[in-house]
Symmetry: C2
Subunit: 268 residues, 2 copies
């Protein structure tokens, strides 16, 4: 049975005036209506960390128990740069703000995921260049101003296998993907992002000797986010990121809760 | 000069159809348009803490410097319940969730401030009862479902004077205000709040022996927030609270970033 042309036209007209999904409000979030994705791993003694001198695993000791003391209470010790964490501008650049001095407004931004899991699977030394970002933008639109960019390399699947996650070769050098310096330059200067995140140990790739990406971020007073969890659960765009680092006075970084709030009104 | 009645009527009509302030969206927050108040104190060795056995001050050690290592990096150690922090349900009740198991959606809620600074100034052993909360509601409207309630006692002004903040008397007992158990019962059961915060060392008052408020919260699987900063900077209502505790696996609590986002559209 063929539909009458007027019916088709009426449906097109109806679609044009349909009420669009409303942009999510803080009230929607506060009332539990929005999906929140926790991008932080739990902190424990098995967490992979950068194999630097003086780094020790996360340590947790019970200092009081319900049975003996009527209360459960623990104490912890950790390097700042362990687990899901933030790198502050002072981590690599003298005179720049510590983790306690990041403006609160800079901790909230629109999120985008750049997915390079395929490329990184083929080449563990893969680096995302400015050219890659521009190609991504041709497909997905410009990275929004103030964005928090998350590079999905697929390394999250190795998180519970610390050796594989570090990718250490026979010579002791590390292999995992990262950002190239020109991508960090482009994103901080041209796109004015608030920060760059990744699902590996470092925003610089494992083979880096000079930590150029860290330095670009530090000079620009932007933050890095490392060991970001569950990037496979996020869409390419259409979400917001909230970044909440431990407020360590003068800290060069610290364990950080990161949440993505999904925006169903912004899906293609 | 007298205005013509029709002009007055026209102005009244105009006011009635004036576009109301829009409820703030996540896009407003992400673009930096909203005022964010950081309710967390910086963590340092001077932070006041609960004077329990085995508690040690916050400790921060530099493990690498820009001069010697090309990178600034530190390591820290702390009790879970120090500085601005969260108490998880397992802190006082066996079998309840630890800080890593709080549902992410429970960490966002509408905020209200109950101001008892005047009463607490006159009586440092003051406790907020259910009756006080009901009187507050007569004046300010019901505490919204899912709220994060912040009790402003004025103790924040003593934060940098640890002895005064603890309020220890000649016999070694502590004096500072808190919630009464019936207020915690009313707020968790009748108002279904997500958590109770305070600008002192404990949601229970200093003289408490049995930590009833902690236990009410634990049984209800709600959280407590202690040493919450800057409550004097918040309105009574018209803001949202985001709570981001360190994700310590099996932790009974931990240092927490807390942010208030002001909602200018919700002011009377």
């Amino acid at each position: 049975m063929r539909s009458a042309p007027w019916l088709w036209l009426a449906l097109v007209a109806l679609d044009a005036v349909a009420i669009p999904a409303q942009p999510p409000t803080l009230a929607d979030l506060a009332s539990g209506k929005l999906e929140v994705v926790d991008l932080s791993y739990p902190l424990n003694a098995q967490n992979a960390y950068w194999p630097a001198e003086n780094y020790r695993p996360f340590q947790l000791d019970t200092i009081a128990t319900l049975e003996n003391n009527g209360v459960l209470s623990k104490a912890f010790a950790s390097p700042e740069h362990l687990g899901t964490h933030l790198d502050a501008p002072n981590h690599f650049v003298a005179g720049k703000p510590g983790v306690d001095r990041l403006p609160p407004e800079s901790l909230f931004g629109p999120g985008v995921v750049i997915d390079v899991a395929g490329k990184a699977s083929a080449d563990p030394d893969f680096r995302l260049t400015a050219e890659h970002v521009k190609l991504w933008e041709q497909q997905h639109g410009p990275v929004p101003a103030g964005a928090i960019v998350l590079l999905h390399t697929g390394w999250g699947r190795f998180w519970n296998h610390a050796d594989r996650y570090q990718g250490r070769d026979a010579g002791g050098r590390l292999h995992f993907p990262g950002y190239a310096a020109d991508a960090a330059e482009y994103l901080t200067k041209e796109r004015k992002v608030r920060g760059l995140g990744i699902d590996t140990l470092s925003v610089d790739y494992g083979q880096s000797r000079d930590f150029e990406v860290h330095k670009v971020l530090g000079h620009a007073e932007r933050f890095g986010l490392e060991n970001v969890a569950h990037l496979d659960k996020l869409p390419t765009r259409g979400f917001y990121v909230f970044v909440a680092p431990m407020k360590i006075e003068t800290g060069s970084g610290g364990p950080t809760r990161i949440f993505a709030i999904l925006d169903e009104s912004d899906r293609n």
